[in-house]
């Protein structure tokens, strides 16, 4: 009897969780479709044809990352005679409300 109660409790927790997750899956999908509009930017296919690869290596070691990035990032360009400038990205985390000062006073004002 006690065993059955324990099994029932576990079943309620398990079955309830699965059902809740599946229901959330259904309705969050509908919510995203309904309320998020125009969430797409131009992709690769719209601006470029294809990538010409000149180096491909599979199954490399995870530890080779830094060396690879260093060599192919700057040194290979230097070998080609291109000095890559510092390409640090524009720091644009949104919402970046601090960038623009508050303008409570209208920009238009009659001069005396």
């Amino acid at each position: 009897m006690l065993g059955n109660i324990i099994i029932l409790i576990i079943s309620i927790l398990l079955g309830g969780s699965i059902a809740t997750i599946l229901a959330l899956g259904t309705w969050t999908k509908k919510l995203a479709k309904s309320n998020i509009m125009g969430d797409s930017a131009g992709g690769f296919d719209e601006f470029a044809d294809r990538i010409n690869y000149y180096h491909r290596r599979d199954n490399v070691g995870a530890s080779e990352k830094d060396q690879f990035i260093r060599y192919f990032g700057r040194e290979i360009l230097r070998e080609k005679g291109i000095e890559a400038p510092d390409m640090s990205y524009i720091d644009e985390e949104f919402p970046d409300d601090e960038d623009i000062p508050d303008v409570d006073i209208p920009l238009f004002k009659p001069l005396q």
Binding site: M37, R56, Y89, P95, D102, I105
Partner: protein, 408 residues
């Protein structure tokens, strides 16, 4: 300055639906090319006066502005440094400040509005009508302000070099293992559109794409009449940085397709972008519609060329929770019964020390269900995160300020 009607001297504005200039006084239409810009000198650029001097304030946040004269009523207008087209607050005259354009780099091209103000509002109403979870109060919105703004863009062609280090999952026997990959390649990006206004978030302006660049016209000040606009405020290096970021994003998006694995991720990349000399400075159109919901402002953008609507709306929480709960309760009955039977059979088999194969089969089924439910949970979390980020963007104070600074 405002372009004036040849017949009555009234001010002309550009009407997207007719692709013509329209006189508000006598109702005459003129084609854009028929209007001469001959009165530029009337708008004499006056000495720039600092905001501190004008407002008598020491507030360091105030921006320096330039002063221009409305040639229609003689009123003096103070305009933000990066703004080139605005209305006169006194007479409502569309005062296009050509002297500012001339002082800075003049745009080479413009994509005129083809979606009118009324069309923009209709598009939004239509989209909201079919949006199931948008609250009724938003569906019946009264726009606080609808502003047509020409956003400055750089249209660039660029050569891109990228080295990407990736990881992916490969099946080995019954399990998945992580493998690492190196890819180095080059590609050429054509007609990449880069928002040239720092005040507008790139996250928003990118979503306005695509624009029909085949409809670009040589820049003509007359198209600005009746609309607001900004000027480029990016340095050369910032344009390159912006292009590099966009190209890197798109390269990453493409390079994962070259990897023979699943769940591929770019762990690191070294992008380098070289812009061609032929970049075009252009003005591209967008409508900004501001509405208020529960005291919070929402700024919705509509591409002034294609009518694409960009914005995320708060949802009707009551409706969402009710529907989710009903489905969860109904499905719970089935899943609780299945779970009960499943555990019962499993414990029975274990207690009798037989049916080992059956038990292991059931455990395997349980694992599959567990993985499937885990995948659904992950997608739920991702959707909620995406929704929250997009909503923050629509409610962003930065975007609101971008629009509100244009006090008309």
């Amino acid at each position: 300055m405002a372009t004036l009607c040849k017949n009555c001297g009234g001010s002309l504005v550009f009407k997207p639906e007719k692709n013509k200039m329209f006189c508000k006084m006598c109702g005459t239409y003129f084609s854009v090319s028929d209007i001469d810009i001959k009165d530029r000198e009337i708008l004499e650029t006056q000495k720039a006066v600092s905001a501190q001097k004008i407002y008598g304030s020491n507030d360091a946040d105030l921006m320096d502005c330039n002063i221009y004269t409305c040639n229609h009523c003689g009123g003096e207008i103070i305009i933000n440094n990066t703004e080139v087209s605005t209305y006169c607050i006194y007479c409502g005259n569309p005062a296009v400040v050509f002297s500012r354009v001339a002082k800075q780099r003049r745009p080479e091209a413009i994509l005129p509005f083809s979606v009118s103000r009324e069309d923009a509002i209709d598009i939004m109403r239509m989209r909201l009508k079919n949006a199931f979870f948008v609250p009724k109060e938003i569906k019946e919105f009264e726009p606080d302000a609808v502003r047509g703004i020409y956003i400055p863009y750089w249209i660039v062609n660029a050569s891109h070099h990228n080295a990407s280090f990736l990881s992916g999952q490969v099946k080995q026997g019954k399990n998945y293992v992580t493998r690492y990959y190196e890819r180095v390649g080059e590609c050429y990006f054509k007609n990449l559109t880069l928002d040239a206004s720092k005040a507008l978030s790139d996250f928003i302006s990118e979503k306005l794409e695509p624009f029909d660049l085949t409809a670009l016209k040589p820049f003509d000040e007359n198209y600005l009449a009746g609309f607001y606009s900004d000027m480029n405020d990016l340095s050369e290096q910032e344009i390159v940085n912006s292009a590099n970021r966009r190209c890197d994003e798109m390269f990453r998006e493409e390079v994962v397709r070259d990897i023979p694995a699943s769940s591929v991720k770019v762990l690191d990349s070294a992008p380098y972008t070289q812009l061609n000399e032929d970049k075009i400075y252009a003005m591209l159109p967008a409508w900004f519609i501001t509405i208020e919901y529960n005291g919070s402002p929402l700024t919705i953008l509509i591409n002034g060329d294609t009518g694409k609507l960009v914005g995320t709306f708060p949802f009707d929480k009551k409706k969402f929770i009710t529907l989710t709960s009903i489905q969860a309760v109904l499905m719970s009955v089935i899943f609780i019964a299945l779970s009960f039977a499943f555990i019962k059979v499993l414990t029975f088999n274990f207690s009798r020390h037989h049916g080992g194969d059956l038990a292991s089969d059931m455990m395997r089924i349980f694992m599959y269900i567990f993985v499937a439910v885990g995948a659904v949970l992950t997608s739920v979390i991702n959707r909620i995160r995406k929704f929250r980020n997009n909503l923050r963007l629509t409610m962003s104070r930065q975007t609101l300020k971008y629009v509100k600074r244009r006090q008309g």
